[in-house]
Symmetry: none
Amino acid sequence: MAEKSYSVLIVEDDPAVRNLVSTALESRGYQHTAATTGKAAIACAATTTPDIMLLDLGLPDIDGVEVIKRVRTWSNMPIIVLSARSDDSDKIEALDAGADDYITKPFSVGELLARLRTTERHLSYRSENTAPQESQFVNDSLIIDYAAATVTLDGKELHLTPMEYKLLCLLAQNVDRVLTHQYILREVWGTSQDGDLASLRVFMGTLRKKIETNPSRPRYIQTHVGVGYRMVRV
Amino acid sequence: MAEKSYSVLIVEDDPAVRNLVSTALESRGYQHTAATTGKAAIACAATTTPDIMLLDLGLPDIDGVEVIKRVRTWSNMPIIVLSARSDDSDKIEALDAGADDYITKPFSVGELLARLRTTERHLSYRSENTAPQESQFVNDSLIIDYAAATVTLDGKELHLTPMEYKLLCLLAQNVDRVLTHQYILREVWGTSQDGDLASLRVFMGTLRKKIETNPSRPRYIQTHVGVGYRMVRV
DNA sequence: AGGCGGCTTAAAGGTAGCATAAAGATGACA
DNA sequence: TGTCATCTTTATGCTACCTTTAAGCCGCCT
């Protein structure tokens, strides 16, 4: 699972609180910007489209609840309210206006960060992010399943060594393109000049023995004399 | 938009609070059931699959946070915590365990209902494929019952240590996907870099001895040299 | 034809990474 | 305090993997 860095918009007119929050976010690797008025907040939310908004209700120009309603007309980004008002009616009003959470001041930084993590989880459940990229490479009867790190030929699973697998993946990701020896060595063996051309040739041999029905007449992997190799889209 | 009637599971041992909540829910047309212990809550969550859980942390048998963790092994249903503990550490612990909201007692019924509405909104944002998940994992003769936290092989119940169980669950929830050593260490041992690769190997060994009929030719758990492990859907 | 460069293939070490056992450390519980 | 279960650490043997080497093959050139 890749670590995504979420962007947060802080809407708060009190510089002390704003600093507190922004340093907390910074320490956790969030990207963040700040706005001090309701109008600026709405504009910023529209232009920079942050992932999450932290909203103080007591803004100088517009009422915070109004900000929520305005933003909700076009976006359902998570909005976490930070407010000094602890009355139930305020909470209910904000939540029903479309806020996703409500934290009363004074709040602990730890709790704020925990609620942010919860909000991130909610984001990851949303439809846009759930698209399961079932990435697999298909070339005739040869199939590479990247998630499972397996290769099947005619439905039968093959056993490839790590190097063979890396090599095959590299060729597959560049189907129909000729890859030079040097390029392959750099990609598979790493930047350091560890790789040897002789070694590469041996690997191509063992790989062909596994995926080609007739290794002397290769169907998938073509040799380009003096240059390199190429996987053919059949 | 059609009005859907959500079902709510109330987990609360105090009859007074339970009544308060259930009458409030009833007045708003929610379907609801109740449980008074942690075990009953977990069982009920698995069998009746409610839409939302309202959870008191101070249960007589199991700690509420433990209930959250257990439910989270198979379900991501929204869990709203109702707790008398108002310490930040308690909130953070519960939220990071997988709670979706945290309300401290005494709470107002109005706020509870508002937060429920917010939770409903979150549910409506979810993609289809996030919702349904079985409380049982079945792979040939290997069965994991998440709710009961038991593992059976050929109908015989196995005794796994907590680590072994976590490891197996992680593999099961990612069937047919290679999990890197690093990923497994992070997920099972926690975010801190406590885990050691040598330790992981020992655990894989003991786990295989328990679930593989022939540990030297593993059927369920495959080794990917230099990368990690993978549970195979057989 | 014969020589040559580049490729394939087979086989032989050397080694990194893995499995396994067993000892040591930790912590829960009574 | 001692016992038990669990987790960690260490050490050892081993398997699978990678590299190296060398022999054989094919097409090309003069």
